[in-house]
């Protein structure tokens, strides 16, 4: 008679205690789409670093009518746990000889940090420009 083999995975690994950086970034991508009727939106991609236990989540700024897709913001998850994490701007908005970057300890700090970044005048300039150009291709009635 065949013996049944039990499931040995610890159950507490399947619960997510707080929104992860991916979830927070993805929400921002969707919110941008809601503001623009999806003419401009954000997409999140994750790359795994060679050590297999640290990750970089990238929020891309995407405007399909312009064939435009560029990295906007990165979050480095430097250990298997979601936090602390390092948030840093992509080259798209980076000023010469400088790079905006912050370390965050939890989800609340991550949200505050992303809000700070999105309100930087140089970031708003890029966003405004991409949104305006998309609106030019498909003007609102």
């Amino acid at each position: 008679m065949a013996t049944s083999i039990p499931d040995l995975w610890p159950p507490d690994i399947f619960t997510t205690p707080a929104p992860t950086p991916i979830a927070v970034l993805r929400r921002q991508g969707e919110a941008l789409g809601a503001h623009t009727q999806n003419l401009v939106h954000g997409e999140v991609e994750t790359t795994t670093n060679p050590d297999g236990k640290s990750f970089t989540h990238t929020l891309y700024l995407s405007a399909p009518l312009l064939r435009y897709r560029r990295p906007l913001l990165n979050v480095d998850q430097t250990q298997p746990q979601a936090y602390p994490a390092i948030v840093w701007e992509a080259d798209l908005t980076r000023p010469p000889n400088d790079r905006w970057s912050r370390e965050v300890a939890n989800e609340e700090e991550l949200q505050a940090c992303i809000q700070e970044f999105l309100n930087e005048p140089r970031v708003k300039n890029i966003l405004r420009s991409v949104i305006n150009m998309s609106n030019d291709v498909a003007p609102a009635e």
Partner: protein
């Protein structure tokens, strides 16, 4: 249930009422994917505005393509990824969470006004080869072909073994493949054959061109086609494919029953539904 519509809108601009019609077509058919040929960026953008209410979570997104076919997909489909492309076609892998993933090949083949039928047959064969390659890559053959092939269901490229190998009978298609010259070629089921002639439920084609003095003139053409692999036949019903002639009360046909460019386009839209 998965539903897709295709329409060659004949280069109409968003000022000519086409956006309103496509938006209504989506609602009428509850389409998950909208594929459009001869469609400008302005139309696709305006369509996106029409489908996504301002300030609310968007329902549709533009799927960037490397081909000349424009595609919108329901945001709820977890992943729509272009895995093969050419100027004339895009082949997408649709990952649908717990539902079976699908392979959707949308096409707008080169026109008979630019190239002759033999050239188009060779292009359709290249398209068929790209589909077979994509099926190998994704390890399944739940493939739907949708679009304007600029070829008849009986054209060599569409019916021939090295082409799409589309047959008119579900029973034949369910044999899945057929040997020709000591090689095996997979079938497609081509439901468009049912629309030929006056006994069909709808018009005798999707596109109409008068004889203009040619010795051979079919008048009605079924250039816009849906083909399905036999693996999708369990999810296919008699009404799974249709030629759309009315959208929300607007008749797309003129008085003579042919596609009316004034009210819609010189092609009728087509729709496919599979219960999976």
């Amino acid at each position: 249930m998965f539903c897709a519509v295709f329409w060659n809108i004949g280069g109409k601009s968003h000022r000519q009422g086409i956006v309103r019609l496509i938006t209504a077509l989506q609602r009428q058919e509850d389409a998950d994917v909208i594929a459009l040929a001869e469609c400008s960026d302005g139309v696709i953008g305006s369509l996106l505005r029409g489908l996504n209410a301002p300030g609310r979570p968007p329902e549709y997104t533009i799927v960037p393509t490397q081909s000349r076919v424009k595609v919108l997909a329901r945001q709820a489909i977890p992943e729509v990824r272009e895995i093969e492309h050419h100027r004339y076609y895009s082949i997408f892998q649709l990952s649908r969470g717990k539902l079976p993933s699908l392979n959707l090949a949308v096409v707008h083949m080169v026109s008979l006004l630019e190239k002759d039928a033999a050239h188009i047959d060779r292009e359709v064969e290249q398209f068929a080869e790209a589909i077979r390659k994509s099926e190998e890559t994704i390890s399944h053959d739940r493939t739907i072909v949708l679009g304007d092939l600029n070829a008849h269901p009986f054209s060599e490229g569409v019916a021939g073994s090295v082409g799409l190998h589309g047959v008119m009978s579900r029973r034949v298609a369910s044999r899945t493949e057929r040997p020709a010259s000591h090689r095996l070629y997979p079938f497609f089921f081509n439901p468009m054959w049912q629309f030929f002639g006056d006994d069909a439920t709808g018009p005798a084609g999707t596109y109409y061109r008068a004889g203009k003095g040619d010795h051979l003139a079919f008048y009605w053409h079924l250039f816009d086609q849906v083909l399905l692999r036999p693996s999708l036949l369990p999810f296919y019903q008699d009404d799974s494919v249709c030629i759309v002639t009315k959208i929300a009360g607007t008749n797309l046909a003129g008085r003579d029953g042919t596609p009316d460019r004034e009210s819609g386009s010189d092609h009728f839209p087509i729709r496919v539904r599979v219960n999976c």
